[in-house]
């Protein structure tokens, strides 16, 4: 067990023991107060008896009262003064009330301490578990491209191959290396997002221009997979976003859409932008493999890779759409995904606050201390 955790557990144990001690102290004090008052009553009862004996012996009542001021003499009868009796009862109640208030305070303070320590312990355990499962998932994600790479290399070493076959294997190996590089980039990006180490600008960015740039960079790949990519975004439609983060978001979403369409032998991806009540909405619709309607939320979870019946290439890290969601949240926007079902295509809807052309900027741009990592975009998690 690590030293800090041992210290925390020891502290928790001490606080628990203290709470028990306080409880016991309270009980003891209450019993002490009750006993004390009972003893006083007994003493006074003895005095009443003594006073009655003096009265019976012919001592005048005034004299007896003077000797024992707590005793009231009525005729030849001695009794405890009602004032004294009330005083004893009031004293008992005062002590009990005092212990109740003080004890409650200590108990509550200790309970708060216990809750804080227990919560810290739980949080730490959760972080450790998340780290372990993250490492396990990451290493698992790397093993498949590594296995493919090793297999290609050993095939080249073991078998005489034609130049065409060798070229195909080299292309496959380069692709596997690209997959691993993309995974590293996305893992670093997601870790930085998780740690909140990215401060994003918030400035008006022309959405049509940003989409056009991203589409152009994927033109070759889309053509190779027989996928038509089109955009219909009004001129001057501006969103409040960080330009680099917006580029990462659009790349991830487009790459995801392309990966969903490629396995079915081609199709289309379309970007449609419009302004709705102070917000800009971008819909990215594809004719790809789609996903089960209930899986729309899971797509954006870390390492979520849904597998509809489409089969095809599963080169994703399970981080691309998670990064999209986190960057959209940081930009004050949101993202959602819909599909009518497996084989029915999908639509990803991204919404940002409108830019200067529509509304005044909500705040001054902040200075970005560390730009987001850019690199190979995410693959489609639901394919």
């Amino acid at each position: 067990m690590k030293a800090p955790r041992l210290f925390q557990l020891t502290a928790l144990a001490l606080v628990l023991v203290s709470a028990v001690e306080v409880g016991w102290w309270l009980l003891d004090q209450h019993r002490f107060a009750v006993d004390k008052v009972r003893e006083m009553h007994e003493v006074y009862a003895q005095q009443v008896g003594a006073a009655q004996a003096l009265l019976d012996a012919g001592i005048p009542g005034e004299r007896v009262h003077a000797l024992m001021p707590g005793i009231m003499v009525t005729g030849q009868q001695a009794a405890l003064s009602p004032d004294v009796d009330r005083g004893l009862i009031a004293e008992e109640r005062r002590h009990i009330a005092q212990y109740a208030w003080e004890g409650s305070f200590f108990i509550i303070a200790l309970a708060v301490c216990i809750a804080v320590i227990a919560r810290a312990l739980r949080a730490e355990a959760r972080v450790i578990q998340e780290q372990e499962s993250f490492l396990a998932l990451v290493s698992h994600q790397f093993k498949t491209p590594l296995a493919s790479l090793q297999l290609s290399l050993e095939t080249m070493a073991m078998r005489p191959l034609s130049p065409e076959h060798s070229s195909a294997l080299i292309e496959r190996m380069l692709s596997d290396l690209g997959r691993m590089e993309g995974m590293v980039t996305q893992i670093l990006e997601s870790m930085r997002l998780d740690r909140g180490r990215i401060d994003l600008k918030s400035e008006p960015v022309d959405l049509g221009d940003a989409v056009a740039r991203v589409i152009a960079s994927f033109e070759e790949r889309a053509a190779k997979d027989r996928i038509r990519v089109g955009a219909e975004i009004g001129h001057g439609l501006e969103v409040m976003a960080d330009p680099l983060a917006l580029d990462v978001i659009l790349r991830n979403v487009l790459e995801n859409a392309l990966a969903a369409v490629a396995p079915i032998g081609g199709g289309s991806v379309s970007f449609t932008g419009r302004r709705i009540a102070g917000e800009i909405e971008l819909t990215v619709r594809d004719s790809g493999v789609g996903f089960r309607p209930g899986d729309g939320t899971r797509l954006f979870q870390k390492f979520s890779r849904l597998h509809p019946g489409g089969g095809g290439s599963h080169f994703g890290t399970g981080l691309g759409l998670y990064i999209v969601r986190r960057l959209m949240q940081l930009a004050g926007g949101r993202v959602s995904a819909q599909s009518a079902g497996v084989g029915q295509g999908a639509a990803f809807v991204l919404t940002w606050p409108a830019g200067a052309a529509h509304e005044a900027p909500s705040s001054d741009p902040t200075v970005r201390s560390e730009p987001p990592v850019t690199g190979p975009a995410a693959r489609r998690e639901h394919s």
Partner: protein
């Protein structure tokens, strides 16, 4: 289902990574095997429902239906086609889970090509031995009132109860029945039935022998057919030992 010569060299690769699938398929074809591939568990079950084959190379983390479930489903429907798990999940717990699901062998990614080819060859050789030996000897073993049909993986025990044998139970029985009265070591049984390094210990053999005793011995606590030779292995007595 039983394999015969015409499909004994047919292999199905179930893997959702296209590059890895391509690499495995190319190499198996280069070795002379007839190879098909599917990318998810549901298609694998559909494919295997109508097409006999000699071996399934099965990934664990598959779309639709995972590899363990595919293997378990195969065994439940009486399909004893050998299964070699090929997966990134290579820790001992996953290996045991795969073998408990009815798998024959387990290879963790990334793997060496030569090792993959050797394991494929070894599984097919064991399977071929089992099939040919069963066919040559009429495929039926009778001992102590029990009757075992090796080709159908079925048996009828001394009390008339019908038994469905797993592939491993049948193979262990086959190895022992080939050498009646002789001592067969645990290591020998492991080598003949599983291969060289699949299980972490020879305790697995002991567990299978216990299962066979429960099926075929009148008093499993005092066995007459599956006898333990302490510190060595087992001896099979077809007539029973008094």
């Amino acid at each position: 289902m039983t394999a015969s010569a015409e499909y004994a060299r047919r292999i199905l690769v179930v893997e959702d990574d296209p590059h890895l699938t391509a690499g495995v398929v190319e190499n198996l074809r280069a070795e002379g095997y007839e190879v098909d591939s599917v990318a998810d568990g549901r298609r694998a079950l559909e494919w295997l429902d109508g097409t006999p084959c000699g071996l399934v190379l099965l990934d664990v983390m598959l779309p639709e239906v995972d590899g363990f479930t595919v293997c378990r489903t195969l065994r439940e429907r009486g399909d004893n086609t050998p299964v070699l798990f090929l997966t990134a999940r290579g820790d001992p717990a996953d290996r045991v889970r795969g073998l408990e699901a009815g798998g024959d062998d387990y290879l963790a990614k990334p793997f060496h090509l030569r090792e993959l080819l050797l394991r494929v060859k070894a599984i097919l050789r064991r399977w071929d031995w089992y099939q040919s030996a069963s066919a040559a000897e009429g495929g039926t073993l009778r001992f102590g009132g029990n009757e075992v049909d090796f080709r159908a993986f079925r048996a009828r025990s001394w009390n008339g109860v019908a038994q469905e044998l797993t592939e491993k139970e049948a193979m262990i029985l086959k190895v022992l029945a080939e050498r009646p009265g002789e001592i067969v070591s645990r290591e020998d049984l492991l080598e003949r039935v599983w291969g060289y390094d699949v299980f972490p210990s020879t305790r697995t053999v002991d567990n299978f022998i216990l299962r066979l005793r429960k099926r075929f011995e009148r008093d499993p606590a005092n066995p007459r057919h599956f006898l333990t030779v302490w510190g060595v292995g087992y001896r099979f007595m077809s007539e029973g030992e008094c």
